[in-house]
Symmetry: C2
């Protein structure tokens, strides 16, 4: 194999596929990047079995071929190269010779014969949306997945398409996040559970904006994200997702509208007095046109009031401040509506057209 | 005590004095900030015995008094306050009531009666220089102090004034860094050893530029840095600093001029192949008008050549790449001169007027 490309193109490609390099496994192929040069293109591939990524980079192929190189070493070398043309040439012993200006490196590689290519994905069922929208719905829901491997399904997110609506749901037993997005056209229904790690990784490598489309294909076992020169394939999580519709009731006894930033900052201040491990809730009194927060702990006390527009009953209710802050941080609206029933029922933060719903369970105030 | 000030002024003051708050001690006073309000000014003080800092912040004193508050809690609270006026009021039980807009905090404090004030420093011997210059000389020497507490003197830096010259020296047994600065006027001779931690801390809190002066006073035991509204007092290290003049020979057998960035980047790339703990040097061959670097390790190999302007003998010599990179990173010149004698004698990176000299011992290439 003999190829040349710019340092920038190579570095970008390495950064993209590196998300699918295993950091835990000791199987050499899972820690490698395969460089595959066909007469027409240079392809980088990494695959840790759960997640596989391939991307095509711009460059010139003088001699087709392939080689698998240690991802970390390759990445470290390329990062430290001058911003210039890079030449990679392999010999019969799978040594790679990397040259850039007057730097010459030799590093050992392997043939790539037993490399795990990305699985072939049948392209029947798909949707198309903008890269920006995909990143946004992930950001606005990913915080409420569970990190407990014993509730495997909760470590992923439901992606459900009905007609022209994409609904993304995550939940961890204490809260549920739902985001709905209107797609440009209608698609065949789909319902899959995507691993949270895959969604975090795809979020990090997407650089595109509102105008840049991404295609998402699904099969029974896999999901494929395809955009520009890059393909990301992930296994799906097996099983049925939790039924949540009956939990998202529209009934309420108390509804109030509050300035999001004031509310978030106030809870953030109050949380100073809550130590990591004690389960003390932050208690709020919703009374007339104010919400009163008061917290007392061994460290000190705080109280603060915020003006609200209220409908319905007064209420005293307690929450884990982290759960409230997580949801408030990802909402872009300046003013938000919060719905409550009583001190033991979940609260809902939702907007008028239901494009987002955050359900949060209260904490028993006697705790 | 009853005072008010802007959140910004209070936060800046807390950030400055926090450098002298102990993170290790369990003595409450060492973890506190003393707020002392006299009729004319508001003063914040922290002192961990090695280092003491006080700063005066702008604000209004309604009732003079003082209180010692936990530094971390105070800092966390103030950071999270809205950007507005802050009121602090204490009661007879040394509870502090902190108010800002609609937030009200109560935190416990102590009287501050047994607080460690900064020691009185006799202001006989001093120098004046710009804050920018002080930060620069610290940055350009601090990397070669020792972190070994058993060679206490090496954990500090020599500050030596002779006439109108300030000389700053640090060394760790493998290398010596010397920076000389011309002061605007001549001062009485002084020679003190300043703890490295103090210099790191003062570097971080100085925000001033070339035009902003700082005064440095010394006594037998202490050094006082005084600028704007802030005083920083540190203990000095006891003992005699190492005599280094006889080591800084001007003799050489090989001298070359090299582009600093090319040299630094090349060593940086080569260091990829040196694992943290093996003592393998990076070997360079200085031959005619080139320097050849070659490194071979179990990870792979690299070689590279850089053009130089050479006088004197060819030479093959090995170095710990970190020591070379540390020095090269802090030198601002584009082209640098390096002087060598033989493979077992130190090399010197120095400029024509000797405002900097970096001595680095070579590594035995058989190692």
């Amino acid at each position: 194999m003999k190829i040349s490309c710019s340092k920038t193109a190579l570095m970008n490609g390495i950064n993209i596929v590196s998300k699918a390099v295993s950091t835990k496994s000791t199987m050499p192929n899972l820690q490698c990047i395969l460089i595959e040069a066909s007469p027409s293109e240079i392809r980088l591939i990494a695959n840790d079995i759960e997640l596989g990524i391939e991307t095509v980079i711009e460059g010139t192929v003088t001699e087709a071929g392939k080689i698998a190189l240690d991802a970390k070493l390759l990445s470290d070398i390329v990062r430290k190269l001058p911003d210039s043309e890079v030449l990679i040439e392999t010999n019969a012993n799978y040594q790679a010779n990397i040259r850039c200006e007057r730097s010459k490196f030799n590093i050992p590689g392997t043939s790539g014969e037993d490399f795990n290519y990305l699985p072939e994905i049948e392209k029947n069922r798909y949707i198309s949306l903008s890269q920006f929208t995909l990143k946004e719905v992930i950001r606005q829901t990913i915080f409420s997945i569970s990190d407990q491997e014993n509730t495997k399904i909760m470590t992923g997110e439901l992606f459900e398409v009905t007609g022209n609506t994409l609904k993304v749901v995550s939940l961890d037993g204490h809260r549920i996040s739902v985001r709905k997005v209107e797609l440009k056209e209608s698609y065949e229904d789909m319902k899959v559970i995507v691993p949270g790690k895959t969604l975090n990784d795809i979020s990090k490598i997407l650089t595109g904006g509102i105008e840049d489309e991404i295609l998402i294909y699904v099969t029974d076992k896999h999901i494929l994200f395809e955009y520009e020169n890059t393909k990301v394939v992930s296994r799906l999580l097996d099983g049925e997702f939790y039924k949540i519709d009956h939990m998202l009731s529209n009934d309420y006894e108390t509804k109030f509208t509050i300035n999001k930033k004031e509310f978030l900052d106030c809870i953030d201040r109050a949380s100073l007095f809550i130590k990591e491990n004690d389960k003390k809730p932050i208690v709020m009194n919703i009374e007339n046109s104010n919400i009163y927060l008061r917290i007392d702990s061994s460290l000190g006390s705080m109280n603060e009031e915020i003006e609200i527009k209220k409908e319905g009953q007064d209420l005293k209710i307690g929450f884990n401040p982290k759960f409230l802050m997580d949801a408030l941080r990802v909402i872009d609206d300046d003013e938000i509506d919060i719905y409550m029933i009583n001190a033991k029922s979940p609260c809902f933060i939702r907007n008028a057209d239901d494009t987002y719903v955050y359900l949060i369970l209260p904490v028993n105030m006697a705790a």
